[in-house]
Symmetry: C2
Subunit: 447 residues, 2 copies
Amino acid sequence: MKHVVVVGGGFTGLNVAKALGNKKGVTVTLIDKNNFHLFQPLLYQVAMAALNAGEIAYPLRMMLSRYRNVSVFKGIVQNVDPETRTVYTDFGELQYDYLVMACGTKHHYFGHNEWEEFAPGLKTIGQAAEIRRRVMEAYENAERTKDAAEKRKLLTFVIVGGGPTGVELAGSIGEMSRYYLSKYYKNIDPKLTRIFIVHAAPRILQTFSPELSSKATRALEKLGVQVWTCSVVNRIDADGVQVGNERIEAGTVLWAAGVRATSIGKTIGFETDKSGRIIIGEDLSVPGYPDVFVGGDQAHFELPDGSIYPGLASVALQEGLAIGNNILLDAQGKQRKPFRYRDKGQMATIGKNAAIAERGNVRLSGIPAWIIWLGVHVYYLSGVKHRIFVLLQWGWSYFTFGHGARIVNKEWRFYSNPPEPAEPAEKIELVSFPECVFTPGEQSKNG
Amino acid sequence: MKHVVVVGGGFTGLNVAKALGNKKGVTVTLIDKNNFHLFQPLLYQVAMAALNAGEIAYPLRMMLSRYRNVSVFKGIVQNVDPETRTVYTDFGELQYDYLVMACGTKHHYFGHNEWEEFAPGLKTIGQAAEIRRRVMEAYENAERTKDAAEKRKLLTFVIVGGGPTGVELAGSIGEMSRYYLSKYYKNIDPKLTRIFIVHAAPRILQTFSPELSSKATRALEKLGVQVWTCSVVNRIDADGVQVGNERIEAGTVLWAAGVRATSIGKTIGFETDKSGRIIIGEDLSVPGYPDVFVGGDQAHFELPDGSIYPGLASVALQEGLAIGNNILLDAQGKQRKPFRYRDKGQMATIGKNAAIAERGNVRLSGIPAWIIWLGVHVYYLSGVKHRIFVLLQWGWSYFTFGHGARIVNKEWRFYSNPPEPAEPAEKIELVSFPECVFTPGEQSKNG
């Protein structure tokens, strides 16, 4: 009987467990620091009060209860010794025959950890609640204050980073301020909310085609979001952000810029790339350690052109199934299969009836993309109940223009992640974009 | 134009605002430390993971948006000067013509504030989340540990206090451990969970008739709850509780015993009873201050027999409407009306198909009481959407025996109330129950 230890209950870990569930010859122990699987693609909707946390999180025990050979533990993995095949956790040691690491990413402030306090990221339910609190309290405080400059600052939101999360957050704030909130305040006009996306690259959503990226920019503009490209944030403080020579006074700054893999890869001593991702081979195992597999955002799987697979749920999910399959093949003494990602495309949503979707040469935007976005997200949600409730919440919001869960609690002041081994603030050079360097007089290509 | 300041957005404050909404001659400013109205009667279901917080909390702004003359501010009232008619808040001063105080209660540990850390109460959404975290983590930790004594301790829950909240919490834990959780753990049998209600009086639910109180005890016992009456807790620590000479080792202790009014009544200098409730007259105003009204749990309205109205939602709601009405009458120069509570009865629920309900001489238990309990709670919930979602959650749980929102987040470690002026731990004598004093050899009446 082979013992498989899976670290992390995200898309990869969950699908490893499913692939190995009720299979002969293997037992599985899945460890996660939370007791639930989080449907990360909809987390921004919890932050924006459109969904309750319980609607996108599902207890891992319940999801895996039908597999007799799978055990779930809530715990923290502190270290791994790949030589003795030992996992060290906060509840003791475990021996493995196969280890699967799928711990995902956390936010990365490019050597400025002090920014985290002023600009929370969005990776956990706790952070989503914190973002919700900050956004809703900004409106409450703006309603109370009599100082016009303070009011303007409170009604200013800066999102650093123009990837899918940044775009979704900015779009939601735009939609909320332009439609939902306008009739509830007497001393402020929520439609005057100023929203900025500050993005280092020459265009937002740079993994999409330029055409869709440009459509997304237009859709954001219609919701009152101003997109600043080729713009690097130099400083974030309690009152706003500094972007080159420019200064924006903002009550709320949100971080959607950098992520890096959790530090456990380095702690163990595996070879990692500069973002802390563990380098893996074609069969998804660590070179030199055929009994250790890595998947999802923590894995660096290099493609022939030197790029890596994008940090998408569909990549993590397919890697999980492939790892499970390779463990089964290996345990049966058969040849492992090299992993190939089947491209499911990518999509991002901006607001009601506004999204972009791309798969190969098929590019969609507007209502068709939005409907596909809805369908795909509901389809991939776990459990019939979650699908029904999320559909109901969305249906209600769509037809009433009202968000449901717009409550904040001053007691929800939790913010930081569970304590992790202190890590020195690491200075990482920002990628510089050649398109962003131009001499005066020259037009920006995105101007 | 008379300016009415309402402090607190609970059942009283909300109904004052509704009674005065869109009425001529008055403007209303409602202040609450949260931005939402909380449907307190169902809060234990959030603590027990049966409902999401967003399903029983509703933004005050949205509830009151149809009233042009009502403004809502999220803020904290620090003091009131009834002579100059000034309310001091954390966002400045307000002048009033009429003031309504409806700040409710908080937990009271009978001079043992140090117990709060080990035995949280259930008054706020933050506390509900904390209780949920403790209960679910107890099971997670029991699943992990290899020490049998530790396991037994972790699977032990003590609820101090046998009023409706204590009974509802104990019943829910009983139901959850006996039915829902049993199939999800591999190293523990959740059916072995030990649950105690430790209650100082000779019977639980002492505001109900002895017959119903006894039926509730039986219903609790069927769910595995042991009821200890005439039992006073002497000590609560990180490992359990001391009850007289007896000691229970418990991983989780919950406080449902004492409440007292918020301290603002004393701060202002109004006459209060020993629980901090402000003494009011027949028209619900403070004697000597006809422009100050108090309602709900913060009010001490003495009945001819020396008792006061119970701390029920229906009392608070009726008082709110009556205060609104008296302000209108007063503003029009008419005679105020004395308040009379129209008894709506009382009820408590133990679990699925198990509740008790009493109104005058009509006493119900079991399924009929449970159906009435369901109907009344859904009816009084605010908003069509909340009713639909709560009904769906309940329906789903009823037929699948599965709770929906059973996720915990280690980041939800918030616990204490927002900082309040420090109050000396006040020693209040416990009411001693003559029935609880008996000489050795004599049978307890409830034994």
